[in-house]
């Protein structure tokens, strides 16, 4: 079970997701940018929970905190909580139809954004605007395509 293969490919996909997260975009488009790293993490946790888990989520969340400039640890905690839910239920989620999966991803994204807002509100007193939740429906739309792409990627490079 523990014969690792193609671990580098997992990190490569996460690295690309990180780049997409910080890539400069016009302000209007930015508001709708989905949280690529969390989506990719969700896929890998679902597919290979023994490789990608809460620990990886914590480290990636911390990196996002550093890159995006939120209070250190905020994204790390929100990522860990969401990935924990995915990791515990990965067998169930795997058997869902793709539409059900997308809905669940939307729910988890909403949870992530609300956690992030709540923590930031507690720490720096930010105020809530409904447009902060735009990435949630966008993530639901992106999920089927991302799922398909990453599954092909995983099979192509035989990542285990």
């Amino acid at each position: 079970m523990l014969k690792t293969h193609g671990l580098g490919f997992i990190y490569l996909s996460l690295f690309i997701a990180l780049i997409l997260t910080v890539m400069p975009l016009p302000q209007m488009v930015k508001l709708f940018r989905p949280d690529w790293v969390l989506l990719v993490l969700m896929y890998w946790t679902m597919a290979l929970p023994a490789r990608v888990n809460v620990g990886t989520a914590f480290v990636l969340g911390f990196l996002i905190d550093v890159l995006v400039g939120t209070v250190l640890g905020v994204n790390a905690l929100a990522f860990s909580v969401v990935i924990f839910i995915v990791a515990v239920n990965h067998l169930k989620i795997r058997n869902f139809a793709i539409i059900q999966q997308a809905l669940l991803v939307g729910l988890l994204m909403a949870l992530y954004h609300l956690l992030l807002f709540w923590l930031s509100h507690f720490l720096t007193g930010v105020s809530f605007l409904p447009e902060y939740l735009w990435p949630v429906p966008i993530a639901m739309l992106v999920w089927p395509w991302l799922f398909w792409l990453l599954r092909r990627y995983r099979r192509q490079f035989k990542v285990q």
Binding site: L2, I19, P24, R51, V59, V66, G69, G73, S80, F84
Partner: protein, 283 residues
């Protein structure tokens, strides 16, 4: 990352992660060491910003390559005209500066020191609504220090909050945690303008109902916060609502700087600050 593969059940990993995060949040928010820590981390991840801005810079570079000769010539003519107009104004400024220095000498107050400046390019703008920050391509190697004021061609942009050797991070005036001391140009009313986490709006705090302020008033830096040099434009008052049930007026202002599309900024050194002891005593 993958070390604890079989060791811990997910729940204890989550608890561990939560504890670590809580520690980090506390460290970042409530201790002074976070600025230093942030600087190191910014340095460590700065290659990623360079990589991420590569497609955009390639694209804009290519579009400049393929710009027609005609467009370039037209742009050149336009820029020359702007330069001529501005150098005309600068000649006048030199004269006024001299006059101002003499008058200040007569009054016995300390002169305004024209500080050093540095042009920096924006490497990355943070997308997150909870943190309005930009990464600049100049760092401690270029002499950048913390708390320096950052301006663009329209007005105040923000201040430097952490510095790495080759890059630095500036907090914008629109950030939720930022506030700046301002003075209305028309009436010299002093106030504090705080960011709201929105790109085009600041809130002017704690103005009593009797304050003389109108829509369209220009707000300049007052220099009283000790961070920003005096007299730079910050924002224009756009909305005032006087609700008598509230203790203060609600005044909103729109920043002059185009915070959502800044490309090049100017860093000011702190010695361009004005010391006005006579004003400080009066109030």
């Amino acid at each position: 990352m993958i070390v604890s593969n079989r060791g811990l059940p997910p729940l204890s990993r989550l608890v561990l992660a939560a504890l670590c995060s809580a520690g980090l949040m506390f460290l970042d928010r409530y201790t002074d060491s976070s600025t230093q820590l942030r600087s190191y981390l910014t340095t460590a991840v700065s290659p990623l910003f360079y990589v991420a801005s590569l497609p955009e810079s390639l694209f804009s570079g290519a579009s400049e390559q393929f710009m027609s000769r005609q467009t370039l010539l037209a742009e050149n003519v336009r820029l020359k005209e702007v330069l001529l107009r501005q150098s005309g104004q600068l000649q006048r400024l030199g004269f006024l500066q001299q006059e101002n220095d003499k008058l200040r000498a007569l009054l016995g107050s300390s002169p305004v020191v024209e500080g050093q400046r540095l042009v920096a390019e924006v490497l990355a703008v943070y997308s997150h609504p909870f943190s309005h920050q930009v990464v600049l391509n100049k760092g401690s190697n270029d002499g950048v220090t913390e708390y320096q004021a950052v301006i663009d061609d329209q007005g105040i942009v923000g201040q430097i909050v952490s510095v790495g050797p080759t890059s630095s991070r500036a907090l914008l005036i629109s950030d939720n945690t930022h506030a700046i001391a301002v003075r209305a140009e028309r009436t010299s009313v002093r106030a504090v303008a705080e960011g709201l986490g929105q790109w085009d709006l600041l809130r002017v705090m704690h103005l009593p109902h009797s304050t003389d302020i109108r829509e369209g008033d220009r707000l300049l830096t007052s220099g009283l916060d000790g961070r920003f040099p005096e007299g730079y434009p910050v924002a224009r008052v756009v909305r005032i609502s006087r609700d008598d049930s509230q203790p203060f007026m609600t005044v909103y202002a729109e920043p002059y700087a185009q915070l959502d599309r800044i490309r090049h900024v100017l860093l000011l050194w702190a010695d361009s600050r004005v010391a006005t002891p006579d004003e400080g005593e009066q109030h």
